[in-house]
C-alpha cells in the first residue's frame, strides 16, 4: 500500500528494513570476497609463477587452481582456530575478545 507512494520510481524493496539488511549483507560479502581474491592472487602468484614467461603455462594454471583451494583451506583452518580462541578467551572473562 505504501510502496506506491515512494517518490522514487525504483524502490528497492517494499520493506525498507529488509532492503537495508540485504544491502549490508551484500556489501559485506563483496568486501570479504574481494579481500580473499586479492590475497589468493598475491600468494599464489608468488608460489606458482616464480619466473613469468610469455604466457601462463598449463602447469602454472594447475598450480593456481590447487593453490586457490589450499589458500581457502588455510583460511578455514585459521577461522576455526581463531573463533575457538576468542570463545575460550571470552569465557575466561576479562573481555579479551575484542583486542585483535
Amino acid at each position: 500500500m505504501d510502496n506506491v507512494s515512494s517518490s522514487l520510481g525504483f524502490s528497492a524493496s517494499s520493506d525498507p528494513k529488509t532492503a537495508v539488511m540485504n544491502q549490508v549483507r551484500q556489501e559485506a560479502a563483496m568486501t570479504n570476497a574481494r579481500q580473499l581474491i586479492e590475497k589468493v592472487n598475491e600468494h599464489c602468484f608468488e608460489k606458482c609463477v616464480p619466473k613469468p614467461g610469455s604466457s601462463l603455462s598449463s602447469g602454472e594454471t594447475t598450480c593456481f587452481t590447487s593453490c586457490m583451494e589450499k589458500y581457502m583451506a588455510a583460511w578455514n583452518t585459521v577461522s576455526r582456530q581463531y573463533i575457538n580462541r576468542i570463545q575460550q578467551e571470552s569465557s575466561k572473562g576479562a573481555g579479551a575478545g575484542g583486542i585483535f
Partner: protein, 96 residues
C-alpha cells in the same frame, strides 16, 4: 547523481522505518560489524600464517598434515604474542 550520497539513500526510503525496525537494524549493524571485524582478522592471520607455514611448492589443493598443525599453532601463538604485548604495555603504563 554526483552527490556523495550512498546507494542506500537513493534506493531505500528510511523514513518509513518504525522505531522497532530502527532498533532491530541497529542491532543488526552491530552484529554485522563484529562479524566483519572477525573476518578482517582472519584475512590478516591467514596472510601471516600462510607465509610461515606453507613454504614448499603447491602439490595439492589440501593443506598437508604439517601445514595444518603449523597453521593452528600459528594462530594461537600470534594471539599469545598479541596478549603478551598488551600485558606488557599495561605493566609499563602502571610503572609510569
Amino acid at each position: 547523481m554526483d552527490s556523495p550520497t550512498t546507494s542506500l539513500d537513493q534506493n531505500i526510503d528510511l523514513s518509513k522505518l518504525s522505531p522497532k525496525d530502527k532498533q532491530e537494524l541497529q542491532q543488526f549493524i552491530v552484529n554485522e560489524s563484529q562479524k566483519s571485524r572477525i573476518q578482517q582478522s582472519v584475512h590478516s592471520l591467514t596472510d601471516i600464517c600462510w607465509k610461515k607455514c606453507v613454504t614448499g611448492t603447491i602439490k595439492s589443493g589440501k593443506l598437508e598434515k604439517g601445514e595444518e598443525s603449523c597453521t593452528q599453532n600459528c594462530v594461537d601463538r600470534f594471539l599469545d604474542a598479541n596478549f603478551t604485548v598488551i600485558k606488557h604495555l599495561e605493566t609499563m603504563r602502571r610503572q609510569g
